[in-house]
Amino acid sequence: MCRSHIELCVCLCVCACAIAISMAQPAYTVASDSENTGEERSSAFTEIAIGIDIGTSQCSVAYWNGSEVELLKNTRNQKIMQSYVSFRDEVPTGGVSSQLAHDHEVLSGATIFNMKRLIGRVDTDPVVHATKSLPFLVQTLDIGVRPFVAALVNNAWRSTTPEEVLAIFLVELRVMAEAQLKRPIRNVVLTIPVSFSRFQLSRIERACAMAGLHVLRLMPEPTAVALLYAQQQQHTIHDNMGSGNEKVALIFNMGAGYCDVAISATAGGVSQIKALSGSAIGGEDLLQNLMRHLLPEYDTIFSGHGLDAIKSMSSLRIETQNAIHVLSTQTNVNIDVDLGNGGRVTRLLNRKEFEDVNKMIFDQCESLVRQCLHDAKVEIEDLTDVILVGGCSSIPKLRDLVKSICRREKVYEGMNPLEAAVCGAALEGAVASGISDPFGNLDLLTIQATPLSIGIQSNGNSFVPIIMRNTTVPARKDLVFTTVHDNQTEALIVVYEGDETKIQKNHLLGYFKITGIPPLPKGIPEINVCLDIDASNVLRVLAGIVIPGNQQLVAPIMEVRMPSIDDGHGWCAEALNRAYGSTLDLITVQKKTQT
């Protein structure tokens, strides 16, 4: 009897995102009940959530084994696995179990990777457009809907979705974990990029639900690293709550798809996230920029996704990737790649060239670090440690850049840059599952902060933030608005997330209408809009009407869980504008001062 199937059926998720589409499930087998031994049975009494770090290009799984964090290995004894799903065979297989002979097969068009760059993004997003030069097909119609994604199977483009690909991959991870831990796995803590919008988070949760997993926490990657750091510091010094030994760490995390920065203040196992910053820049951009530098006609050759073009691009990609790795330790690298059809790139590439080609990326990294320092109101001298993690952390330019901003010679060396995030996620999994450790190893707490501001459209076409970025969560803030027309009886609340002044550049989270405002001159009725984020990071928008001088509520409060939008939301803002114009607008009454 397969326990995981039963688990799926009793999936209680009421959230819209969790309407689980059990997909490709029967193709996978999991450890059966009979394989469970007595001990595991008892230890499974409190299910400990496992930590999963799904990176743009690599992924890993870790769990709390009762005394420490342990990384799981796949059947090929790898702790770090490639994040991809191949559609080459009848049953799609992911990088956890499949053994593709070499990188060329990953790049044959039959394999989809970089899902994390696609999930929850609409086809007008520049990040999606950057993905179009990968071997598989990403088609954009540029109208604000989910991009069309397809894999090449027997000379046909077979369509799928980023969520589906991620779910297939998660199922493989789950099967691997269940086989090794000999217990059903349901609860997980996933690490996510700082810059993910709440809509993207809801897509990640959906993919998890499709894989029969319940997301206990979604943790921004650098905050997972901060948790690991907090645990390590607690180990080294058995300090009490005394803040004399508070440690402030700057965590710089850059992988293939995203760059994140966090500043945490840690003492006595409590780490407070003081600021977060992040952007969708990563090794993938470094790689693509270098490929275009080596082969200027890259986009022309590849635009048609022809079979020959895919082959030559995959050769170039592999060679360029190797070159970047070599340039981490050497200053020069010889590039010699046969593109087929007589095309060939042969040259000597030096590190300076690589750095110049990617100057913009490095500049962006620098501004993320500076912004984070600024937001955290932390002086460089106050930093105890500078931690560099992620696949790109070995790039000399990035190391120098972070070291020079933070004015120090050395970076923290106490953690494996590729495993830090997943270890932190596993720690959070144990802590959030309520596990306690007799030696105090889990006496930890991360006080999270919101990476992006959340607010509503008001004062014409402006974004009025209600919860500012880097606000400690759980959080609850409100702001009072009023009507802009006489006898206005309805108002539209359109909720956005982001920090751009142009409202369209922020992420739409949802919208609803408040009705039943008593007909009064403009500026009299007060519409109180309250945003509530609980410890599980669930956002609720509450709105109610107050008439000055009247104790009674004139209409029931509206309470809306966000994000409430679905795919294709790129349309929504425009459609609302077309349908209502400014007839249902609001303006702010008073701006609450931030303490």
Partner: protein, 144 residues
């Protein structure tokens, strides 16, 4: 005096089913969460506590009252696993850890106005638009 709308605190749930809770009676006011009289009392420190003491107090209280912490989730007391309490603690810390905000707050205490705290106790939190509106009114309004 004008009043503002109050939203009740969201009831506490255990960590595992937090996401699935359903809530009714959203209109009911819950003044019960307001039981502290000053920010110093919220943090359980003296009026003359040093910044280090305030920070330490905040940390120890966070460990007790943050919904994520093991202490809060294992405790059966509903008040300790309710995020509202932690918000109150954090807001007190925000004010008291900022020297200028703390000075202003101390000043207000000195005048005996209590920046809405006293008012919040007696008038069921309808003090958002009170003439005493200052950043500090958050400390009471957060947790209706």
């Amino acid at each position: 005096m004008m009043q503002t709308l109050s939203f009740p605190g969201i009831p506490a749930t255990t960590p595992l089913n937090r996401r699935f809770r359903c809530r009714a009676a959203v209109q009911s006011l819950s003044p019960a969460t307001l039981n502290s009289s000053s920010l110093y009392e919220v943090l359980r420190v003296n009026r003359n506590a040093s910044p280090l003491e305030i920070k330490a107090a905040y940390r120890s209280l966070a460990k007790l009252y943050h919904p994520d912490s093991a202490a809060a989730s294992s405790s059966s007391s509903s008040s300790s696993s309710d995020g509202c309490d932690f918000i109150q603690i954090h807001n007190a810390y925000e004010t008291l850890s900022d020297p200028s905000a703390r000075a202003l707050y101390d000043l207000s205490l000195g005048f005996g106005i209590g920046i809405g705290i006293g008012i919040g106790m007696t008038e069921a939190n309808h003090n958002s638009n009170s003439p005493f509106s200052t950043p500090f009114r958050w400390e009471t309004d957060q947790c209706w």
